[in-house]
């Protein structure tokens, strides 16, 4: 990461306006209300189908659109590049003697820096969307794709308006809006040209659809005599009726509304109020979209309907805003669009901000795998530029079991002077930054793999192979011991394949898919030895590897021979709590009666909740074992660990942790649990550092003495 990126992150973290504003909005709750009675999965599947199919034939749809719009009297220009689009509009301004332009919101015009370009010809462009106008007055780019000025406070906006309108103003938002209305209203009447974007372009009818809440697009397309719409090719859909699902999802997902105040379908020029005919020009812009459509992976991103829900739910975006996380287009989807509309290189720093929690993927109205595509950018960058030496070396070490494990064993000895109660205390000065907000765990004196050999197990017909994962093996071996004890009570004997090593998730997350495939290959056959009934994992990230990623990554890396075995591993893989829940329900595990109840809040690790789909099972199992679950706010929001993310983006990671700890404390629960050693390292370290009474404990340790 570049130095200036660190500096801008640091600066952004000092100003938490946007995070506060998003909190007060309470998007998750208002959004849920807007979707009442709507089958979101069915709706977004239909959008993904329509737009996915359209992305496969953009060129053809553009020609159909052009033909139909021109038959209606609209002039259509197909601009291959940003430059071609700018030039067309500038020439038109010259031809028509345009001096003043009013604009309604258009990200495409931001993409091509149109205002700045026209300014050089002495043409004044005024934004009329309130948020865009505020950004224009502040000489800033939008920080959010739907609500451009969300990063500014009413006080800052009042100052901007006071300067623009040359009058003293107070900070009353209702009054500020009326000041803007009065100031902008005259501009509508004076303008020679109106420029808009479009939310949808319908090929069948040659129509564009424009949604606004303020009503400014209706004035931009009505009062000036010339209307120009700049439309990216990805806005094309084949048919009139295709607009219906987009209009159902866009306002609900963007601003928790059933529909925007105004949604206009413009299909032909209409008469102006003086009886002349309006001129309507539609600039259909490519600017690398056709190339994107040819890319088997990134074609999917053209399905985006620009609702910006991915920003609203992103735990990183809320902290750093779109000014750091994005360029013109912001947040998760913005990172992907930046890589294509600018160039791959410009997205390299931004992509590193994604922690891969998958919150956005769950909410995307067009079913785009946003984190997956960001990872693909990371992979391509790693292929092209190579990983930084230090990360590459670290990943190679992790992939060499003997070297890595020897290092961990050595560390457990070397750390001794610094260890107290399982945490590393008093780190040498140059390392102390790592433990500023979170105590670091120590490496256990004896790893689970050594302890396992000393455990006496009953002989059982049914076997489970236990995949411990590095963190549980070397940092939290007690959880491993608890897992063996509980499974034994259900009549399951635990096998521990000695050759198991890192699952490859760190390599996968760094974009080194070849090393991730190596990791898969080393583990698959050992796990199947002795034909176990189950493969039990108690780390959410490792479960993702075993259950979801190994077969996929082997296929991608063209290492086909082990795929059937990878699938066998996947089909046998259970998260530990998932299996315990099943065993309780099958009455193979019976909770003790009359035990003392304790209170607990449960943190859903991103991998468990959104990759593996396990969130109910641990709660059911822990409830049965005598814990009263007190749910925390944002229980499934990332804790900020994210594997190596906490090392690469320490400042963001610590802010995410801080919020998580506040949410945990607010429940008043005695314990917090999570089935992910990574999350536990983060939570336990944070709770220790803040001097909290809450204990972060692995579910297995919480349940070990709770069954008959």
């Amino acid at each position: 990461m570049k130095q200036d990126m660190s500096a801008s992150i640091h600066k952004a973290l000092e100003n938490q306006n946007l995070a506060g504003i998003l909190d007060r909005w309470n998007y998750p709750a208002t959004r849920a209300k807007a979707f009442e009675g709507v089958d979101f999965e069915a709706l977004r599947t239909s959008i993904a189908d329509i737009k996915g199919e359209a992305a496969g034939r953009l060129d053809e749809l553009a020609e159909t659109f052009k033909k139909n719009a021109e038959a209606n009297g609209i002039k259509v220009f197909r601009a291959s590049s940003a430059e071609a689009a700018r030039q067309y509009i500038a020439n038109l301004c010259k031809e028509k003697g345009v001096k003043k332009i009013v604009k309604s919101k258009s990200m495409a015009t931001e993409e091509i820096h149109l205002n700045h370009f026209l300014d050089e010809f002495g043409i004044q462009s005024d934004e009329t969307d309130l948020g865009e106008w505020i950004c224009q007055l502040a000489h800033q780019t939008p920080s959010h794709m739907v609500m451009p000025a969300l990063h500014l406070t009413k006080e800052e906006i009042s100052d901007l308006f006071a300067e623009e309108t040359k009058q003293p103003l107070d900070n009353d938002i209702q009054k500020l809006v009326k000041v803007a209305r009065a100031a902008i209203r005259e501009k509508f009447f004076e303008a020679d040209m109106g420029i808009s974007g479009a939310n949808i372009a319908i090929a069948e009818t040659g129509s564009i659809v424009i949604c606004t809440n303020e009503g400014n697009a209706r004035l931009v397309t009505t009062l000036p005599k010339v209307h120009v719409a700049l439309v990216g090719l990805e806005k094309l859909v084949p048919n009139y009726t295709d607009a219906a699902p987009i209009l159902a999802a866009l306002p609900r997902n963007a601003t928790s509304q059933l529909l925007t105040s105004y949604a206009s379908f413009i299909s032909a020029p209409t008469l102006n109020d003086d009886g002349t005919m309006k001129e309507v020009h539609i600039v259909l812009m490519d600017n690398n979209r056709l190339k994107m459509a040819e890319d088997p992976k990134f074609k999917e991103a053209l399905q985006c309907i620009r609702c910006a829900a991915c920003l609203n739910v992103c735990p990183v975006y809320r902290l750093v805003t779109g000014h750091v996380f994005g360029d013109i287009y912001t947040g998760g989807i913005g990172t992907i669009l930046t890589a294509w509309f600018n160039e791959l290189k410009s997205a390299e720093d931004i992509q590193a901000l994604c922690i891969g929690c998958d919150k956005c993927k769950e909410i995307c109205a067009a079913k785009i795998d946003i984190p997956g595509l960001i990872l693909e950018i990371r992979r391509r960058a790693a292929n092209k530029e190579g990983l930084p030496f230090i990360y590459k070396s670290a990943l190679q070490v992790i992939n060499n079991r003997k070297v890595f494990h020897t290092m961990l064993r050595t560390a457990s000895v070397l750390q001794k002077p610094f260890v107290k109660e399982g945490f590393i205390r008093h780190l040498p000065m140059f390392l102390s930054g790592l433990s500023e907000y979170r105590s670091l765990p120590s490496v256990a004196p004896v790893p689970f793999r050594d302890i396992f050999k000393t455990i006496k197990q009953p002989k059982c017909a049914e076997k489970a192979a236990f995949y411990a994962g590095c963190a549980l093996d070397f940092v939290y071996p007690d959880a491993g011991v608890a897992i063996v004890k509980i499974l034994n009570k259900a009549g399951i004997e635990v096998l521990f394949p000695e050759e198991q090593s890192c699952c490859g998730i760190p390599h996968w997350g760094s974009g080194s898919f070849d090393m991730a495939a190596d990791a898969a290959e080393r583990n698959i056959l050992p796990l199947l030895e002795g034909n176990p009934e189950y493969v039990v994992v108690s780390c959410a990230s490792c479960t993702t590897a075993l259950k979801k990623e190994w077969a996929k990554i082997l296929k991608e890396q063209h290492r086909e021979s082990l795929i059937p075995d990878a699938n066998r591993v996947a089909s046998k893989t259970y998260m530990f709590t998932e299996l315990v829940d099943k065993l309780i329900k099958e009455k193979r595990l019976t909770p003790k009666e009359g035990i003392e109840l304790h209170t607990l809040t449960y943190h859903d690790s991103c991998h468990a909740k959104r990759h593996v789909g396990v969130s109910k099972e641990p709660r059911d199992a822990l409830s049965a074992a005598g814990y009263e679950i007190k749910e925390m706010n944002e229980c499934d929001t990332c804790c900020g660990m994210g594997g190596s993310y906490t090392i690469k983006q320490p400042e963001i990671s610590m802010q995410m942790l801080k919020r998580k700890l506040e949410n945990i404390e607010a429940t008043g629960a005695e314990f917090v649990s999570a089935e992910c050693p990574g999350c536990l390292i983060q939570l336990r370290g944070g709770l220790d550092k803040s001097g909290s009474k809450v204990k972060a404990i692995h579910p297995a340790e919480l349940m070990v003495d709770k069954f008959k």
Partner: protein, 187 residues
């Protein structure tokens, strides 16, 4: 259908829904409304009434004389200075509390987009379910400019705080009329 429409419309932002059995009652309400809003012949206090089927149902001249400042010819300047803009809408959508306007005629847009208050006349019989239902009734090949209107003009661009009346009306009054444009009756 009407009850759903009313419930949804009235939560869409500074919107009131009235219902009248007859056109005469609805016109009576509109007259009272113009009086209450102190429509007069000075800028900022005009009322503009865009060409609508309902205009055939009463003596326009007489009403214009009764309310100086009420204009049945909508220009950009009159609309700019209007307190009240009156238009008739084609369809109502129960699912979202929206109305569909054939905005091809610029008068419709001027009267409904520039005035402080938009009085929207809607035949009760024209309330249908949702956008897919509307798409079987209105098509771009017939109507060059269609607008779906849902509530008053609004924004949350400053700190996500709702503010009503940005560039368009800050109040929407929907007047549903039961005996207007009934099936089989020419409108």
């Amino acid at each position: 259908m009407f009850e759903n429409f009313k419930a949804r419309a009235e939560t869409s932002g500074n919107t009131e829904v009235k219902r009248f059995a007859t056109t005469a009652q609805a016109l009576g309400f509109i007259e009272e409304f113009l009086e209450k809003e102190e429509v007069k012949d000075e800028t900022g206090s005009y009322a503009v009434w865009a060409n609508s089927p309902i205009l055939k149902e009463f003596d326009n001249e007489a009403m214009a004389q009764k309310f100086p400042g009420l204009n049945f010819k909508v220009t950009r300047e009159l609309a700019k200075g209007a307190k009240v803009g009156i238009t008739q809408l084609k369809w109502g959508l129960a699912e979202t509390g929206s109305m569909a306007q054939d905005s091809t005629d610029v008068e419709q847009r001027l009267a409904s987009a520039l005035a402080w208050i938009h009085v929207a006349i809607l035949p009760t019989s024209k309330i249908i379910a949702d956008i897919p239902a509307l798409m079987t009734k209105m098509h771009p090949k017939d109507d060059k400019y269609i607008t779906l209107i849902t509530g008053a003009s609004k924004t949350a661009d400053i700190e996500r705080v709702l503010a009503i009346g940005v560039h368009g009306p800050e109040r929407l009054v929907i007047v549903c009329v039961d005996d207007l444009e009934l099936e089989g009756v020419a409108s």
